[in-house]
Amino acid sequence: MTSRLQSARQTDSIFRTEDLNIYYGNFLAVRDLSIDIAKNSITAFIGPSGCGKSTVLRCFNRLNDLIKSFHIEGKIYYHDQDLYASEVDPVEVRRQVGMVFQKPNPFPKSIYDNIAFGPRLLGYKGDMDELVEQSLKQAALWDDVKDKLKAFGTDLSGGQQQRLCIARAVAVQPDVILMDEPCSALDPISTLKVEDLLQELKEKYTILIVTHNMQQASRASDYTAFFNVEANSKGQRTGYVVEYERTEAIFQSPKQQATQEYVSGRFG
């Protein structure tokens, strides 16, 4: 399994979805999703609340599997592997597709142990000190914490905690990093730090980011998918992608009226 997922790391398209419908029980949360995610790019998902951005994001590392009623129709390919094929182990997927959450969620352990948690799960045999240092440097946190690696991760400031979570995700050397509104709990300065970080991280990783902050999407991403939501006759709200383009196109010359209105701040 491992080898199959890893040998697939060669292609240029990281994720490809085909006519994806996402359900919770009978409720259709997102419909008709067909997008391609390019390697070493930053793709932003924007759109009003409840349009299914996070739901889509969590399909890519199969974190939605934790919700019993969740199921999909259609296909998601990770490289050329069907991500939801029965022989794919979700645990293995999550080791290659890391995630950073909306609320910083460091483990109640030391900074060092937070970073080492993932590599230890994978049975990392190399120099752990070195890996911890590298990961913290990649997350631009090393200078802040190098003298207090034994301190609790939960004692750091919010922005530092979020960078710790990024370092923790990076430490397992994933292929992709999913970010679910990573800056929504951060102050503007910490937000800028994380955005700068994204530009460095995309050299090595493919990044998908959900954001409510349109400036962030326009500043930081290469591609943007604009999601919208519509209610059916029963009042169930189903999300769908209105437009998926290069970020400049979305913000400067959107083809759809709804996109135009959203990015210019007229609704949402």
Partner: protein
């Protein structure tokens, strides 16, 4: 449009005197209740201490290390009972902690659909509702006959271990410990489950997001994060086990000597000693019983203080 129609200064717009006296009355009322509980505890401790004074003066700390309890000679020492209290409680913890924490893990994860899980949670908690005399009766007529062959087998095959050095004679320390384990199981299971459920969902997701399996998530994140709550529950259960009287008195055999360290032998606990001897005690014996009660009081106090320390020391900042 005017924003306010009341032009008086804010200082003049006071709440009515009644509302304010209700407020301060509530503060004083709760303070009085809280102080009364503390006073009650102090009064009981003082009273017991006062009644124990003759025995304290006569036997001193030697009371704690002497196993001689002779009403005829007027010589009293509670080592047998202190030993019995500690050993039965430890047996109970040894059995109940792994099972209780196991139940807590099982019932805090989504192994079962809620429709089945909720009744099981309720049933486990119902174990705590069975009166201890019922546990005692059940122990005498059901558990001990079942345990007897097993005890004999333990003695015959592992008799060289001091713990199993004597042949079981029906009631005994092991039977009391086992029933105590069942009695404290719901405390450990319920409190541990609450502690595990209270671990923020974000931590669970973080672990899964890094590619941890369910077991890795439980053992490396959820259990450590819930540790302080679990430890608190275990200590509470230990306090309960040490003070439990009825079931233990019915099952432990009430021997007033330590013949061996075998858990298959009969023994007694401080609580069972008190229950057995109060009715026909007089003179110095009453004082000695009060002294024993004070010792039990101190033991549970120590356990509770330890619990507090453990919880503070290992409490993870979430």
């Amino acid at each position: 449009m005017a924003l306010t129609t009341d032009h008086s200064s804010p200082m003049n717009r006071q709440r009515s005197g009644f509302a304010r006296s209700l407020d301060s009355g509530f503060v004083w009322g709760t303070a009085a209740v809280a102080i009364a509980v503390g006073l009650l505890l102090a009064v009981i401790a003082l009273q017991v201490g006062e009644d124990a004074l003759p025995a304290i003066q006569k036997f001193g700390l030697g009371f704690l290390v002497s196993s001689r309890w002779s009403v005829i000679d007027g010589e009293f020492g509670a080592l047998t009972q202190i030993y019995g209290t500690i050993v039965t409680s430890l047996i109970a913890l040894f059995l109940a902690v792994p099972i209780g924490v196991g139940i807590a893990i099982f019932l805090s994860e989504d192994f079962l659909p809620p429709r089945i899980k909720q009744p099981i949670v309720f049933l486990v908690e119902l174990l705590a509702a069975i009166p201890s005399v019922v546990y005692g009766i059940w122990g005498i007529f059901v558990l001990i006959p079942i345990l007897r062959p097993f005890g004999i087998w333990l003695h015959e095959t592992l008799g060289w271990i001091p713990l199993f050095a004597t042949a079981p004679a029906g009631p005994g320390i092991y039977a009391a410990g086992l029933v105590l384990a069942i009695m404290i199981l719901p405390i450990i299971a319920a409190i541990s489950r609450d502690a595990m459920v209270a671990v923020p969902a974000e931590l669970r997701q973080a672990a899964y997001g890094l590619g941890a399996t369910r077991w890795e998530t439980i053992f490396q994140i959820l259990l450590p994060a819930g540790f302080s709550g679990i430890a608190g529950g275990v200590m509470l259960a230990l306090g309960r086990a040490m003070g439990e009287t009825m079931a233990v008195t019915m099952l432990i055999g009430n021997a007033n000597t330590i013949d061996s360290f075998s858990i298959l032998s009969q023994g007694s606990t401080v609580a069972s000693l008190l229950a057995n001897q109060f009715a026909e005690a007089g003179g110095l014996q009453i004082s000695a019983l009060m002294y024993a009660a004070l010792v039990l009081f101190a033991l549970t106090l120590v356990v509770n203080i330890l619990a507090e320390i453990v919880v503070r020391r290992f409490s993870l900042k979430l």
